[in-house]
Each structure stands twice: as C-alpha cells, then as structure tokens.
C-alpha cells in the first residue's frame, strides 16, 4: 500500500513536471508587450521533495472534523445527502465522498453567512420570479431545516431521521422537496433545494473543499478535473479516458 502510494506520487511528480514545462513553453511572447500566458515566475520550482514529505505525513485527514454542525446534525446531513446521491454499482455515494464534511465547512464560511448576498431590510414576501427574499442565512436555514426533518420523521415514523429505512428517508425528503410539510420559518422545498445543490457541489467540487474524496466523484463520470489543455482531444472521434487531476497538482 505504502509502496503503491509512493509510485503514484512519483508518477504525479513526473506529470506535473512535464506540465510545468508545457506551461513555460506556452507563455508565448514575441516583440511588443508580453501579456499572455501563465508566466514562469508564478510557478513555484523545486517543491518535489516537500510534496513527498507532505504525502508521507498524511496519515490522518485532519480536515474531517466539524466547524459548524453538532454530531447529530452532521449525521442527519450525512444520511440525507447519501439518499440524494447514493452509493451504487457506479461508485461511492455522498457519505463516503465526504459531502457532509464539505457542507459543514461551507456553512462555517462566507457562504453560510450569505456574506456576498444583499441582506439589507426591509424583507417582504415576494413572487417566485423575484428569488429568495428571506432574512435567514444559509447556516440558520440548515439548523432549522435539520430540526424540522427530525420532527417530521418522528411525527410520521416515530423515529429520528437517521434511524429510518432508506425508503422512509426518501419519503421524508420527497415531502420536503414537494412542500408537503408545513413549516412556518423556512420553505421546506427551499431547504431541500439547498441541500440538494450543496450535495452536488460536495460530490463534484475540487477535493480541496473536503468532498469528492480522491476525485472519486469525477472518476465515476469520466471527468478529468483540472487539465491544462485539450488541444489533442478536441478533434478526436473517440472518447478520451483521462486520469483526473485536481488543483493540488498545481502546488
């Protein structure tokens, strides 16, 4: 296992070396002002040794702890996202891809606080065409939404959400998605849409954000992640299976 990792690491280094060379060569400039291209100066050199050392130290994923949810909330989110994007013959589901950690981390940051949204009062109920008009922030919506999902699970099945069968969990989620649940503070479907879109983000965003573990989300759908060029792919009549890369390969 350790040896495999080592080989993988070597292969990566080789690839990223040739990638660097490529980048340098494509920083094309003749005469006049050179403005195009990622300039050689921004590419850090001589980091290979450091990278290998880092890899050797990565025994635990220290990123997998909670910044926002409590344990129960985390488990509910983990269970719900797994139903939205379940493990199957094609590959892992949301749970083993780390989606709940992804959501936890996002809600702890600017997205959870709606930092770049217009949140000034007054707040009025608007038409659907006018978009979100609530005063609650995403982290507050999640906290309320999770609690309401628990309440609804107890009401309907006399158990908490995580103790339900997969089919029962689907019933709860469907009732939220279709607004069959009467909530006063938040929109049930609004909460469902938020958790659904964040599930897809966690499955498919760069692994740097804590989901898409080992790029498994990308691998399942033959998505090559972050490649620097497809000049050889564009005209190809055949589907090109390309080993994915992530932004970490840029460091």
């Amino acid at each position: 296992m350790a040896e495999d990792n080592h080989n993988e690491e070597e292969k990566l280094d080789k690839d990223s070396l040739s990638r660097r060379k490529f980048l340098r060569n494509s920083g094309f400039a003749v005469g006049g002002l050179a403005v195009g291209g990622v300039l050689g100066s921004v590419i850090p050199w001589g980091n290979e040794e450091k990278e290998q050392q880092q890899a050797a130290n990565e025994t635990k994923n220290f990123n997998q702890a909670l910044m926002n949810f409590n344990q129960v909330e985390f488990q509910v989110v983990e269970a719900a996202t797994e139903r939205i994007f379940p493990e199957d013959d094609l590959g892992p589901g949301a749970k083993s891809l780390g989606v709940a950690f992804y959501i936890d981390h996002q809600l702890a940051g600017s997205y959870g606080f709606n930092a770049r949204d217009y949140m000034n009062p007054p707040f009025f109920h608007g038409e659907k065409t006018q978009g979100y008009q609530g005063r609650l922030k995403r982290r507050e919506i999640f906290r309320i939404g999770i609690r309401e999902m628990q309440n609804y699970s107890h009401e309907k099945f006399e158990k908490g959400f995580t103790d339900l069968t997969a089919e029962e969990q689907d019933t709860v989620l469907t009732d939220f998605a279709e607004d069959n649940v009467n909530l006063t503070t938040i929109s049930a479907s609004g909460f469902f849409n938020l958790i659904r879109s964040m599930t897809l983000e966690g499955v498919y965003s760069d692994p740097l954000y804590g989901g898409n573990r080992n790029m498994e989300g990308w691998k399942m759908r033959d998505y090559p992640g972050d490649q620097m060029n497809y000049t050889k792919v564009i005209e190809s009549e055949e589907f090109q299976q390309i080993e994915p890369r992530s932004l970490r390969d840029h460091m």
């Binding site: 494509s26 920083g27 094309f28 003749v30 005469g31 006049g32 002002l33 050179a34 403005v35 195009g36 291209g37 990622v38 921004v42 139903r83 939205i84 994007f85 379940p86 199957d88 589901g93 997205y111 930092a115 770049r116 949204d117 217009y118 949140m119 000034n120 007054p122 009025f124 608007g126 659907k128 065409t129 006018q130 978009g131 979100y132 008009q133 689907d170 659904r196 897809l200 499955v203 498919y204 965003s205 954000y209 990308w218 399942m220 759908r221 033959d222 998505y223 992640g225 972050d226 490649q227 620097m228 497809y230 000049t231 005209e235 190809s236 009549e237 589907f239 090109q240 932004l247 840029h250």
Partner: protein
C-alpha cells in the same frame, strides 16, 4: 470634507472593455486620462488556480459583491420591486477588465437590419406588423458606418473566425483562422447543411493561433481547457481588456488607473459635466476628480444609475413614453433551446472553449420571412462546446427524478451522450420595460438602487417557441434518439441563470427627443459627457453583444478626440 484633485482631460468611470478601449485610444492621442474602477486590480497571474468550478462558476469569484450593491426587480408596475439578493439570471462583473474578464468570447457583429430595424420592418411588412407598445427604433447609425469599428475591435482582440454567409459585408477577413472543429460541431454542420441552412464557425476571442495585434500585443493560442465563462484565462488566450487595451494605455504614461474607486455622482454645472465624485472604498474618503470630459463606461445598470442619481438627462416615463434615461431596457431570449440524447455516442464534452461552436443565422434578424409568424427579429441557433463541468452540468431526461439513485445513474450516463442546441433570441423593447431608481432600497453608500421593470411578452414567447422548434429539427437531423425542448417560455425569473446580455437605458439614436446619446455615445443633453456600453443599444439583437460594445467604444473614442479639439455636438 471632499478632497479635490487637480483637473484631468478625461475621467472614465469603469474600466472594462469600454473604459479600456477608450483609455488606450485617448492616451495614444496624447490626452491625460484618469480611470476609476470600483473593484480590484486583476492580472493573468490571478488565474493560476482558476480551474475551480465551485469558486468561480458557483460562488461567483469574479462577480460584483451584491452585499454592497444590487438592483431591484418586478415583472410589472403593479408589483413591489424587491432586491436581487443572490445571483441568478445574469452576473455583474467586477474589477479591472469588468465583464470582459469572465466572458466566453463569442464575438458576433449585429446585422445591417438591426441598425435600421424600424425602417426596414415597416418597408417589408408595413407599420401594423409592429405591436403598438413595442418601441423599436433605428440606431442613428448604419451597418456600413459601424463596420470599420467592428473591424478595429476584431483586430485588436484577434478574433478567430470565418465569414458569416448571411451577415453584413466585411472590409477584412477575421485576423485569425477559425477554431478547431470537434466531432459534435461537425455533426451540427452536416445536419444544418443538409437542411439547407448556412452554418459557420462561431467567431471567437479565444485565439485559434498565436497572434500579435496592431498595438504590438502578443497573445498565446487557446488550449481548449474548458474554463472560460465565469473564469479568467490563465493563458491570456481569451481577449480581455487586461491583456489587450489596458497595457497599451498604461504604457503611454498618461493613464492613471485607480482601483477601489466607487463613483457616485457625475458633477455638472450649466449643462456641462465638471468631473465626478467618488469614494475611495479602502478609506471611505470622498474625492472630487475634475475633468474636461467625463465618460461613463460601467455596466448597463450603473450607467443608468449614475445619470439618474446625478440628475442628468430626462428620466423615462412609462405612462407617457416620454423621456429617455432608463428607456428600452432589453435582455435576451435564450430559453428556446433543446437537448438531444444520443444513446450510441460518447462525446468529449468535458473539453472545450468559451467560443467553441457552430452557428446558423438563417432565423436571425430579418434573414427569413416574418409574414406568417407572430414575432419580429429572431436569433441564432448554435451548438457550443464550452466544457461541461460537473456541478452545473447534469443533463437528464425531462421527466426523470432530480435526485436519488435514478438521477445519479442518468446524470452519469448522459453527461457525455447529450448535445444541446441553444438559441440567442433577440430582445425587443416595450414601453413598459424600463429602468428607474428604486424608492426604497439603497446601496452601501445610501444611494438608491436601480429598479428593473421587465417581463417576457408574446413577442418573446412566440420567438422562443419558434427557436425551440428549429433546435429540435436540427437535433433530429443529427440523429438524436430523444429530444427535450422548451415548451413554454413562462415568466421572466431573476433567479435562474440565462445570460448577462442586459441592454438599453441610455439608448442611441438620431433624434434627441427619443434617444439619450448620438452615434458617438455623446449625450444630447450634455456635450462633454459620453455614455458608452450596451446601455446604448436601442434593442438587443440575436447575438452576443460584446463586438458591438467594442465597436461603439472605438467610435466614441474617435468622437471624444474630435470633441477635445473642436467641442460641440458631433452628430
């Protein structure tokens, strides 16, 4: 206490394509120019980690911070306008380069018909063809008059393309060859040819080959990396003001570019602009920059907002149809599209470029007979290959579940088995569609936000259905096993992404009664104030707007230089 700075020749508000072009042209002619940009500095080096769908495409890294400024929206005057609290329908650029940083680079000329739309429509179909409340008007410029400026923009940006067989006459070929053709594009080409349409390669600001422009700027060829729209280009292959016109302006030593400078008022006295008042957002300090000439080159909404907040020009009144500032707001009708499912194919849909694609104009402008349809104008139909990124691209059959096991299986299966034909429908203006100041909501400095009143009309519903039908026809010819097409356009929603092609509000024309600026983008009501950008479009054509924005900016620059010598109205 307002700090007053020494006077300059020209002050520019907003440094994107419009501001960048005007800064480079004016400084080349020896004028001293101050450029005020409310956002930050941007450089190619910023995009080393740009292949990040979450950060750039989903979290809008390059877009304006809505917590500081947005606009309000209502579908009609009976509704209460409410703020656009989150991004949806369109995206507002930010920082040096503006929307010119995050665009895809599709660079189309408008048709000769567009510039004389009212005259030509009446000539061919009679006056009754135009609905009573549709306010289409001629632009006060013809295609032949604007052609040299299109040529100039295309050479500066190095546009890669081949001639549009149904477009206006060109004085020169595109400066670089067309982009590569993928198998998907070849399928579109073959299908549209067999339907007797006229396909051509989308004119692209993603360079097909290395190119040195007339200013001596060299840029590298596009690598088809599939991160264009909403992203900055780490190669500088995508034409962007930061890698084209702004360095030229800076190189003259006559361009003083100040970022984090939020312009709040155009100052004026006795019918002349005297400068601008802005806030340094890093310190909160209020600063007056006096100037002989003022040029507004910010985005559509902000151009209108600045004029209204500065009490310049005659505000538009939708009940009388009089006044001009805020008039003829238009958008783009792009929902009339279709997706084809190809069970036996597997495409490299992950690869692409912002302007990679094929297009037909057979149903654009007045290239077809409108006698038997209930709409005017039209739109192009295209197959684009901009790169299907996984968070935002999950094509599934229209009637299938949107989450759970079946969703997962469908989205995995179809991501590389689907192709879409999109439509770029023209948006024609109506009396009831306009921009004014919101009576309630304010920006970070307490200035009123812009209020948009807009909804789709029968014109748009008919047009969208028409383009969806044509898109379906093309996909069928391409051999799709299943086709999902738009059936009903529905109301305009500000919370679903459509396109950032917003136009109008400070429209150009030949008559000061019905337009705000002349064909040099010079204000009729204030000689030394120029308002440049898509805000000057009297309607939006069935194309992406940037080529026309660029052309009008070059013409405005020529006008400003003339005005600096002789003064007076230029047209």
């Amino acid at each position: 206490m307002v700090k007053k700075l020494p006077k300059t020749d020209v002050v520019i508000v907003g440094v994107g394509w419009g501001g960048g072009i005007i800064a480079s042209e004016l400084t080349k002619q020896g004028l001293n120019v101050v450029g005020l940009e409310k956002g930050q500095e941007r450089e190619t080096e910023d995009y080393y980690m740009a292949h990040d769908e979450l950060r750039y495409a989903v979290r809008y890294e390059l877009m304006s911070d809505l917590s500081k400024e947005t606009l309000t929206f209502r579908g009609n005057e009976k509704m209460r306008a409410l703020p656009m609290r989150q991004y949806g329908s369109f995206l507002l650029g930010d920082g040096v380069g503006g929307a010119g940083v995050h665009w895809n680079g599709q660079t189309f000329r408008f048709l000769p018909y567009d510039f004389e739309i009212r005259t030509r429509t009446i000539e061919r179909y009679g006056k009754d063809k135009i609905p009573a409340d549709m306010t289409i008007q001629d632009w006060g410029i013809t295609y032949d008059e604007i052609e040299p400026y299109y040529d100039k923009f295309e050479k500066m940006a190095g546009i890669s393309g081949e001639e549009n067989p149904l477009g206006g006459k060109r004085s020169n070929k595109y400066p670089t060859k067309p982009m590569l053709h993928s198998p998907q594009m070849k399928m579109f080409k073959q299908a549209t040819e067999s339907l007797n349409y006229h396909p051509y390669t989308i004119p692209s600001a993603n360079l097909s080959e290395n190119y040195t422009n007339p200013d001596g700027i060299s840029r590298a060829a596009c690598q088809y990396c599939a991160f264009c729209e909403r992203f900055g280009c780490e190669y500088g292959a995508k034409a962007d003001p930061v890698v084209t016109v702004i360095p030229i302006a800076k190189n003259t030593g006559k361009f003083d570019l100040r970022t984090h400078s939020w312009v709040r008022r155009v100052l004026h006295k006795d019918g002349k602009a005297t400068g601008v008042l802005y806030t340094d957002v890093t310190t909160g300090e209020e600063i007056e920059q006096p100037a002989d000439m003022v040029v507004l080159t910010s985005y559509v909404f902000n151009n209108v907002k600045l004029l209204l907040n500065s009490e310049i020009g005659r505000p538009y009144n939708p009940s009388t149809g009089r006044g001009v500032i805020g008039k003829n707001y238009a958008y783009q009708i792009i929902k009339g599209s279709a997706t084809g499912f190809f069970e036996d194919k597997k495409f490299n849909n992950f690869a692409g470029a912002g302007s990679l694609g094929m297009v037909i104009d057979d149903f654009n402008g007045d290239n077809f007979d409108h006698s038997d349809v209930n709409f005017l104008h039209g739109g192009y139909l295209s197959l684009t290959q901009t790169g299907k990124r996984p968070i935002q691209s999950n094509p599934i059959p229209a009637d299938s579940p949107t989450w759970g096991k079946e969703f997962k299986q469908n989205s995995m299966k179809y991501i590389n088995k689907t192709l879409s034909i999109g439509a770029m429908g023209a948006s024609l203006p109506f009396k009831q569609h306009y921009l004014d100041l919101d009576p309630m909501y304010k920006d970070a400095f307490g200035d009123p936000l812009i209020r948009m009143t807009y909804d789709f009309k029968d014109q748009d519903r008919e047009l969208a259905k028409f383009t969806a039908t044509k898109a379906k026809e093309i996909l069928k010819e391409m051999g799709a096993d299943r086709i999902d097409a738009m059936e009903e356009l529905g109301p305009y929603e500000i919370n679903t992404y459509q396109t950032t092609h917003n136009t109008g509000g400070v429209i150009m024309g030949g008559d000061p009664e019905t337009s705000a600026v002349n064909n040099y983008s010079q204000m009729w009501d204030m000689d030394n104030l120029f308002v440049v950008g898509a805000s000057s479009f009297p309607h939006n054509s069935g194309y992406n707007p940037t080529d026309t924005v660029g052309a009008l900016a070059y013409r405005a620059a020529e006008g400003i230089v003339k005005y600096s010598k002789n003064g007076g109205q230029l047209a």
